[in-house]
């Protein structure tokens, strides 16, 4: 069966500490100012009737990929398990992918190529989880193969109420926010 990598982000557990962000930056040796993941705090209401959702966000590794469609060189492509990747040797830094991404998931490195979350495929291939998942002190992040109904991520998505970001964009995201 073909793998379909996905992530579940438990917004009830997440405290927005940014451990995922720093772990990603060091694991992937990201340049200053470059982020593959980030934390959003979304507040609703007025004092004292307030609610807040905290989300650790990253590339949604969509099933319908405007970024890949927009890439003129084939640098942006869909790799193993549906993971959206950028081949930096093919990337000219034209930013067409960035303009097409509804989630702002990409940035340009100082070397001129576009960079983004890879779900840490280099770790996954060695049987480890993505760096953000492994460090997360609140165990908010669950990564795995959605195509395997027994996987923790598939179980969470099946059992818990969840949402994806901007479903109206029609991108069919594979990062699920558990509510």
């Amino acid at each position: 069966m073909t793998k379909r990598y996905a992530m579940a982000v438990d917004t009830r557990r997440c405290v927005g500490c940014n451990a995922c962000v720093i772990a990603c930056k060091t694991e992937n040796a990201l340049p200053e100012g470059g982020f593959r993941d980030w934390v959003v705090q979304e507040v609703h209401g007025t004092f004292p009737d307030l609610s807040m959702q905290i989300r650790s966000e990253r590339c949604n590794h969509c099933a319908d990929t405007p970024c890949v469609a927009a890439c003129p060189t084939g640098a942006s492509h869909v790799g193993e398990g549906g993971v959206v990747l950028v081949n930096r040797s093919k990337c000219t830094g034209c930013k067409a992918c960035m303009a097409s991404c509804p989630y702002g998931a990409r940035y340009v490195t100082p070397q001129g190529f576009v960079d983004k979350c890879t779900f840490c495929l280099h770790r996954v291939e060695r049987g480890k989880g993505p760096a953000c998942v492994e460090t997360c002190p609140t165990r908010s992040l669950t990564f795995g193969d959605l195509a395997d109904p027994a996987s923790p991520v598939a179980q969470l998505v099946a059992r818990r109420s969840h949402a994806v970001l901007q479903p109206e964009a029609g991108t069919r995201p594979h990062v699920f926010f558990l509510t």
Binding site: G16, A19, F47, G74, T135, C136
Partner: protein
């Protein structure tokens, strides 16, 4: 246009691919072959287990080393505090190691103290200068005139030096400027202070109550892990905070309390628990004294009484009390950590400890559990005995603060101003704590500093206190040094290794080396018979036949498991005078304090001012990490939180409302002005207070990133209310006006 841009690109790519068939090389460019998985190659060739020093929780980490550089720091799965997971600060340790502003060599002051002008010198010259200064102070004023301020694991060596030298004046701001009131209160009620890490079984709690504690923003790793675990298992939160904290956003009940009225709320909660019999009567009958006195004491402390005081609806007080009571005994009222607020803090913590007792939560699963230390032997000495010394001098003449159980750092500062204590302090060793941000009332601190004959600062970064030193000694960071083992208490006792991952950069040295060299220069070499830190640790381990080789491999040695709560078969005992939990405290009564907590109103600020509150952000450890470029990326500076509606009503804005993110200046009741700081206009805070994350607004220009960035709450804390029970410095009695920052020309 009949061909879309997307189709055009596809056509172009197909054409090029077709043209390239047969060339082989070109197919690498045009996508017929499989792309390699990008690997940043940050896994270490060597992976060194050690424990973290970015805060003081002491999480086990794995330092990945490649080509002589630490590429990343990850959690050590074998370590009970990190369990393989790290907070952002721990993961950001390389930002400290490779901070371009690190201290690189010893420095000697070359102009007036505080002018921050230094010349680099050799270690020999620097330590000679320290030794001469120490000898001079000893001859004129005695050995006890030397005080040590310390915060961090390398402080162990400097404590040994103090012992050999002959002074017990060793303090840390982590007591009287932080945990102190709760330590005193739990000592009174349960017979034991809590210490760190706190003995809490958060993971198994069914209800967790936070009172001014913002766990989640306050990022003590294991506690946050367990908070999330509890939430994941359906635990309910009750959060009392003037600010809609992260924890509040997850709470069943958020109580946006008027600052300074917590004791009224706690008495009302106790009233409801007693009135509705939501307490553990059997537990109290077996273990506690003073229930009848407590009942009489809170008889009139109804939610209707507390409502107008706290600004909370009586129904909210009652409903939250019922939730807390119904979850007993696994209903955990967190003791908090930074508890020096209003000068009556021991009494507030006493009320919290009484609540803990009523819920039967002490010694129970999901509550305050029993912890132990790993039974590691001390260093098998054989050196000369330490000299007898005069008693420590952190209390003023006449003696106050009867329940202080640790040395008051503020008291040591005061004893440095001539004539305040039994004898004057004349020299300070400051290890790893930036007193300029840690201490309130900066003018008083600077007065003490200027009265010193010698000030030596040991640090990894040129922090503000270094700027006031006569000699600055640059320590290696934790990733570059060996230290003593971690031996804190935990539910399952353990020790953890501190071992260097890479050699010290620049001309920096580990604490043990500094102390050993300095000891030799002041004739105390006999007290330090070990060769180095590892030799010291090996000798400690060898006493019971344990091996360094085993410890260094995983970084951790686990001790024997023992019952941690009644459910696991532990027997509860209380080291109070009566041997029982003291709801009513005779000790306090005899010392002239309220034997049961009493609510007394706090002073209000001038009209148009806001009470200044402070707290933590998860990416930073006070001011220690502000210069860390890695951690600064997601959190570059603090902001002052101001209620958006209150902002609209501010006077003196010239008809133009404040905009979110605009720079403002805070001016306190004594006219002290903050740096310009961005304002965060938000619904997430009451309209009568403002909030700053602590640690910003630093004045040390050698920390080039941190310098002048954000605003310092400590700088604005010129008024202090001293807790008469244990000497804590209550800091939340300061009020600020908010002014638009002047336009920069």
């Amino acid at each position: 246009m009949s061909v879309t841009r997307r189709q055009f690109i596809q056509i172009g790519a197909a054409g090029a691919g077709a043209a390239a068939v047969g060339s082989g090389l070109a197919t690498r460019w045009w996508g017929l072959d499989r792309d390699p998985t990008p690997d940043p190659r940050t896994d270490g060739d060597a992976v060194v287990p050690t424990y973290c020093e970015l805060c003081f929780w002491g999480c086990g980490v794995l330092a990945h080393v490649k080509d002589g550089r630490v590429t990343k720091v990850t959690g050590n799965p074998a370590h009970p505090l990190s369990r393989g997971m790290l907070c952002p600060r721990g993961a950001g340790a390389t930002g400290l190691l490779y901070d371009p502003d690190r201290l690189r060599q010893p420095l000697l002051r070359v102009s007036d103290r505080g002018e921050d002008r230094f010349e680099p010198v050799s270690w020999d010259a620097a330590l000679n200068r320290v030794a001469e200064g120490l000898e001079r102070v000893k001859q004129r004023h005695g050995t006890e005139a030397l005080a040590l301020f310390t915060h961090g694991s390398g402080g162990v060596w400097f404590k040994q030096l103090m012992k050999a030298w002959g002074s017990s004046n060793i303090g840390a701001p982590s007591y009287a400027q932080c945990r102190g009131p709760r330590e005193a209160a739990f000592q009174v009620t349960f017979g034991t202070p809590l210490g760190s890490p706190e003995p809490l079984d958060l993971a198994n709690a069914r209800c967790i109550t936070l009172i001014g504690s913002h766990l989640g923003e306050n990022m003590h790793n294991t506690q946050v892990q367990e908070l999330a675990e509890a939430v994941g298992k359906g635990a309910q939160l009750v959060v009392v905070d003037p600010r809609f904290s992260v924890a509040a956003s997850k709470a069943r009940y958020w109580l946006p309390i008027k600052p300074g009225t917590d004791i009224a709320l706690l008495l009302a909660w106790i009233h409801v628990l007693l009135e509705e019999r939501l307490y553990d009567a059997d537990y109290l009958a077996q273990h506690a004294n003073g229930l009848e006195e407590l009942k009489a004491h809170v008889a009139t402390a109804t939610p209707e009484w507390a409502g107008p005081i706290t600004g909370l609806a009586p129904a909210l007080i009652r409903d939250s009390a019922r939730l807390i009571g119904a979850a007993r005994p696994a209903s955990l009222v967190h003791p908090g950590r930074h508890t020096v607020w209003y000068g009556d803090d021991t009494q507030r913590e006493r009320a919290m400890s009484i609540l803990v007792a009523l819920l039967g939560n002490w010694g129970r699963r999901g509550g305050y559990v029993l912890q132990q230390k790993y039974p590691l032997a001390g260093y098998p000495h054989g050196g000369p005995p330490p000299p007898a010394t005069r008693p420590k001098v952190d209390k003023p003449k006449g003696g106050l603060y009867p329940l202080a159980s640790e040395v008051l750092a503020s008291g040591l500062c005061d004893a440095t101003r001539p004539g305040q204590a039994l004898y004057d302090l004349k020299a300070w060793l400051v290890y790893g704590c930036n007193l300029v941000q840690a201490m309130p009332d900066r003018p008083r601190l600077l007065e003490a500093i200027q009265a010193l004959e010698l000030l030596v600062a040991v640090d990894v970064l040129p922090s503000e206190i270094c700027g006031f030193a006569d000699v600055v000694l640059p320590e290696a960071t934790y990733l570059e040094r060996d230290d003593d083992v971690w031996n804190g208490p935990w539910r399952r006792p353990f020790i953890a290794a501190r071992q260097a991952a890479v050699p010290p950069m620049y001309d920096t040295k580990p604490g043990w080396w500094i102390v050993k060299e300095l000891a030799a220069k002041v004739g105390l070499a006999d007290h330090f018979p070990w060769k180095d830190a590892q030799d010291f640790v090996k000798a400690r381990l060898a006493v019971k036949g344990e091996s360094w080789e085993t410890l260094k491999l995983t970084g951790v040695l686990l001790g024997a498991e023992a019952p941690t709560c009644e459910e696991e078969g532990a027997d509860l005992s209380f080291e109070t005078e009566s041997g029982k939990i003291e709801l009513f405290s005779k000790d306090l009564e005899e010392a002239g304090f309220d034997p049961l907590p009493v609510y007394r109103p706090q002073e209000e600020g001038p009209p148009g001012s806001f009470r200044l509150l402070s707290g933590r952000a998860p990416l930073h450890t006070f001011g220690r990490t502000v210069n860390n470029r890695l951690l600064a990326e997601p959190y570059p500076e603090n902001e002052v939180w101001l209620n958006a509606d209150a902002a609209r009503a501010l006077p003196g804005l010239g008809g133009r409302a404040l905009a979110n993110g605009e720079k403002v200046v805070l001016v306190n009741q004594d006219g002290v002005r903050s740096n310009p700081v961005r304002v965060k206009l938000t619904q997430r805070i009451r309209g009568d207070c403002v909030y700053l994350v602590h640690g910003w607004g630093q004045t040390a220009r050698r920390q080039r990133y941190a310098f002048g960035r954000g605003a310092s709450d400590a700088h604005l804390t010129t008024r202090v209310k001293i807790d008469p029970i244990m000497g804590g410095t209550g800091m939340n009695g300061n009020f600020v006006r908010v002014e638009r920052a002047p336009e920069v020309a």
